[in-house]
Symmetry: none
Subunit: 129 residues, 4 copies
Amino acid sequence: MWFHVDPSDGLPIYMQIINQIKRATANGLLKAGDQLPSVREMAVQLTVNPNTISKAYQELERDGIIKTSRGIGTFVAEKEIKIVYEERTKEMMAAIDRLLVEAHHLGFSRDEVFKLLEDRIKDWKVSDK
Amino acid sequence: MWFHVDPSDGLPIYMQIINQIKRATANGLLKAGDQLPSVREMAVQLTVNPNTISKAYQELERDGIIKTSRGIGTFVAEKEIKIVYEERTKEMMAAIDRLLVEAHHLGFSRDEVFKLLEDRIKDWKVSDK
Amino acid sequence: MWFHVDPSDGLPIYMQIINQIKRATANGLLKAGDQLPSVREMAVQLTVNPNTISKAYQELERDGIIKTSRGIGTFVAEKEIKIVYEERTKEMMAAIDRLLVEAHHLGFSRDEVFKLLEDRIKDWKVSDK
Amino acid sequence: MWFHVDPSDGLPIYMQIINQIKRATANGLLKAGDQLPSVREMAVQLTVNPNTISKAYQELERDGIIKTSRGIGTFVAEKEIKIVYEERTKEMMAAIDRLLVEAHHLGFSRDEVFKLLEDRIKDWKVSDK
DNA sequence: GTGGTCTAGACCACA
DNA sequence: GTGGTCTAGACCACG
């Protein structure tokens, strides 16, 4: 499988794994019912401590993203993640505020941020498939 | 002053303080030359250990956000954009990309992000002087 | 390892440690990828509080000299010169000027400084590989 | 008088004053027997706490640079500062080492440092009077 | 009064 | 085992 991990990334390794799996399920790269590698298998592949994989899986299961059956394996769950609208918007606004603060400290005006984002979104759209 | 801290937030306390001060300098609540509460003062206000405040202040100083003088106090620094243009833009684009990725995870389309940012910038502008 | 510390030196302990590590990476005693003693280990060696070592390591990390991974350890970072040419040269010239001023205070002529540096560089070169 | 002080310099204010006076006596700008401003006078002039001036003067007197007579004033002392040769050389070598370490972290080779210093010294000589 | 350093000791996050 | 955060409390340097 196509997982990878960067130990020198600030993000804890178990988090990197969680993010990749979340993203894959969001993308459709992983569909409900798909089997995930076993903890040991993945640990070998990423040359990472099995505890680390285990922790990632546990957290994913807690969030209802995956489902593990003892002795059988680990699978992508049916359930879909739903965050309430207000929650989502709140987080999104927080993220936007973080961006604006960062922009300020980098010396960009709000209009420049707006312009840059506009351009960036256009680029992304073009490269969309 | 209007600082507050949530010990049960995942974010370390000193980080919460850093973020609040960065934000305040970014939106003009704190202006260059303004004096910040003394380490001890802020420590009692937030019922937090003085060392924790100190750590936040030191980190802010090395980022050039504030300036401290022993025996005098701590002050908001003159803003000075030192990084070269390419560097700045590169960092800004990276920040924008992080935002777009986060937006995607939260299930927002790019147009929605664009719209939200537009609104937010308008709000901030009002508080500009 | 060969670290040592003098608590009665005017310089803060964490600074002494920083200087030693910077020096060691500068003259090749520590190379990129080398593992540093763990915080606790070094703390007992130097009979110093672990927090003090931790502070030194954290400061070194933000200067890009070392790289630490939680749960793994602390390592010498790959050297990476990021600053632009003009910036670098400006800083270097400032450092040279500081040296010349200090030399003047100590009563050395410029030619003597030149001579001493020449000798010193030769010595260092020998320890190059 | 031509003293000045920069509170935002890393160096403590009292140190800045000491350095200026030391330099002036080394230069000949201040000669043995010259009277220095009173503590109060200097404090007003530099808009600095009198304690700070006082501390500088005390330290200078301890080093034999100046001599104060109660009720009369403060004067440059006759005695000349002498550091033993080995001491001076030791300090000078330490300063050179600091320069070389800094150079390394700025990405300069030893030969480049040598070259830069050579140029700098030549410049200084030309601008000497 | 200000900020800076250090200790002792606790608890957490990560691998 | 690793490093990171926080507290309580001491002492120092500076103005």
